[in-house]
């Protein structure tokens, strides 16, 4: 075996390897289980019940009597999501044909601690051109950091030097196997089958739980090559998740009108995931993770543009799938580094 090691190799900070090993064992014991990996599957009968909500809206009182765990919030959200599923199924396909590319332009915001323990936010703008086979190009622009107070800014510049005035640009080739673009072409459009695959984490890896399933549904929905049928099915899967609440009419971070559903997890924060859709097309507009108590935003993903284009350098002109942004996003600063940030 080659003994060469690229430099930049360091020890784990003192004491932290043991601390993290102990945390790992604790997580397995309390939240993951020592036995074979088990995933909670939604009761298919319950999912079907939720999926029929629009049809039985007039008999809603009777449903509430039959399904005692069917909370009003969940019912309203399921109804909205099933309506969105119907809308999604009627949309024209945005899947790239031969010689075409699905184009998306997204803006991701996150607030994280860096190696020095300084809390800073960055935005990452990503433009993707994805052909039907998953190949294509991705251009990423990472913004300079934004600081939440002058002291952090000063400390940062003393360490790293002047703050860049331009974003850092990275261009990547997609070879059809990138995890940033999921292969959704062969996914089933039966809600029970798709839900089982998602809950078993067969499509995207990750921990089990409704919170995580909710998150994965929207990741798949944001796939450039998701067909109208698949998008409709994903909405139906979301309609079957417990605890989802309809937030109603909202404005997304770039000022577009839409409707939102949300799910709050008490086990980490509490933290709320908010997902915003365009009412007329059911297109995904934005997702946010916010502190359930203060409303501070830890991360957000916004779809700025989407459409099908003829080359991997062009952008949509008259085939936009989402409304154009009407405002510059502003995010409320979190009080701390947020769940999951390493401290230095």
């Amino acid at each position: 075996m080659n003994e060469f090691r690229i430099p930049l190799e360091r020890e784990f900070p003192e004491g932290r390897l043991r601390l993290r090993a102990s945390h790992l064992v604790s997580e397995i014991d309390t939240n993951m289980g020592r036995g074979p990996a088990a995933h909670a599957h939604r009761d298919p009968a319950r999912r079907r019940l939720l999926a029929t909500i629009p049809a039985i809206a007039a008999a809603l009182v009777a449903v509430l009597v039959v399904g005692t765990s069917l909370l009003p919030g969940t019912t309203a959200a399921a109804q909205a999501l099933n309506k969105a599923a119907d809308t999604a199924a009627q949309q024209r396909s945005a899947v790239a044909g031969p010689g075409e590319y699905s184009y998306t332009k997204t803006l991701a915001y996150s607030a994280n601690e860096d190696t020095q323990g300084i809390l800073a936010s960055r935005t990452i703008q990503t433009e993707s051109w994805v052909a039907a086979n998953g190949s294509g190009t991705q251009v990423t622009e990472i913004s300079p950091p934004e600081f939440f107070n002058q002291e952090d800014r000063r400390t940062w510049t003393e360490t790293f030097g002047p703050i860049a005035t331009r974003p850092e640009v990275q261009r990547s080739s997609l070879d059809g196997s990138s995890d940033s673009v999921y292969d959704v072409g062969a996914l089933p459009t039966d809600p029970d089958k798709l839900a089982t695959l998602i809950e078993d984490r067969k499509i995207i890896g990750g921990p089990s739980g409704d919170w995580e399933t909710f998150q994965e549904v929207w990741e798949l929905l944001g796939s450039p090559n998701a067909s109208p049928e698949l998008r409709s099915t994903l909405f139906q899967v979301a309609a079957g998740i417990d605890g989802v609440v309809l937030s109603g009419d909202v404005t997304d971070p770039v000022g577009r009108a839409g409707f939102a559903v949300s799910l709050t997890s008490d086990k980490n924060g509490p933290l709320t995931q908010i997902v915003v859709f365009d009412k007329s097309s059911s297109q995904l507009l934005a997702t946010e993770e916010v502190d359930a108590k203060t409303g501070a935003v830890y991360s957000a993903d916004i779809v700025l543009e989407a459409g099908v284009v003829a080359s991997d350098t062009s952008t949509p002109v008259d085939s936009e799938l989402v409304p154009a942004p009407v405002a510059t996003p502003q995010f409320e600063a979190p009080a701390g580094p947020g769940p999951g940030s390493a401290s230095g």
Partner: protein
């Protein structure tokens, strides 16, 4: 000392303590690998936890135990770092339960060096990121981490021939990218050396 094989057998029986022992033995290698793929020590630290949590979830999927747990863990790490923001978000709840972490005095002294590492690694990654994801994996595993073709194949669940062809393709493409960029001479030399030592029968990068 208990061997990795014995620990892994216990892990397959659901023994979390043995998995914690494997973390203490091999967390270091995964930590450095995650840093090389992200250029950020703080992110790398959270990613190590994420890699092991994900590895526990997938522990029954190991197809070959011939090379021990490290290549397989590096394979899991490759999947996790490929989209590190999403990976960290998925395990946000688990990471939020990490106890507050001690800041050791030595670490403060070490900070400037770590910041320099980050600057340097990010310059390398600016070029490296133009390779397709799977080609980045083989370069990082074979040239930077020092795995053999066979071990890299086990890590990525690929035939050895595919690893070789991807590595060859990636090295050529990397050379083009480096030539085009015309900068980062220090890092370029390191990549050249790594390639020469690893596969002397072929043109170096």
């Amino acid at each position: 000392m208990t061997s990795d094989k014995e620990l892994w057998d216990r892990v397959l029986q659901g023994d979390a303590d043995s998995f914690g022992e494997l973390f203490q033995r091999h967390g270091q290698a995964i930590y450095n690998y995650c840093f090389r793929r992200t250029g950020n020590w703080a992110v790398a630290e959270d990613l190590v936890s994420t890699v092991f949590l994900e590895a526990w979830r997938r522990r029954r999927n190991v197809k070959s135990e011939e090379y021990g747990p490290v290549p397989w863990l590096l394979g899991v790490a490759s999947n996790v770092v490929r989209n590190s923001q999403r990976s960290l978000r998925r395990y946000r709840a688990a990471l939020s339960r990490l106890p507050s972490q001690p800041v050791h005095p030595d670490f403060a002294d070490d900070l400037a060096a770590r910041v320099d590492d980050e600057k340097r690694m990010r310059r390398i990654l600016a070029i490296f990121s133009e390779l397709p994801d799977r080609d980045q994996d083989v370069i990082a595993l074979c040239l930077w981490q020092g795995l053999s073709y066979e071990q890299a194949g086990a890590a990525l669940d690929l035939p050895v021939g595919t690893v070789k062809s991807r590595l060859s393709r990636a090295r050529k493409r990397l050379r083009e990218l480096i030539d085009r960029s015309g900068q980062f001479q220090g890092e370029t030399r390191l990549i050249h050396e790594a390639a020469r030592q690893f596969a002397p029968e072929e043109d170096t990068v």
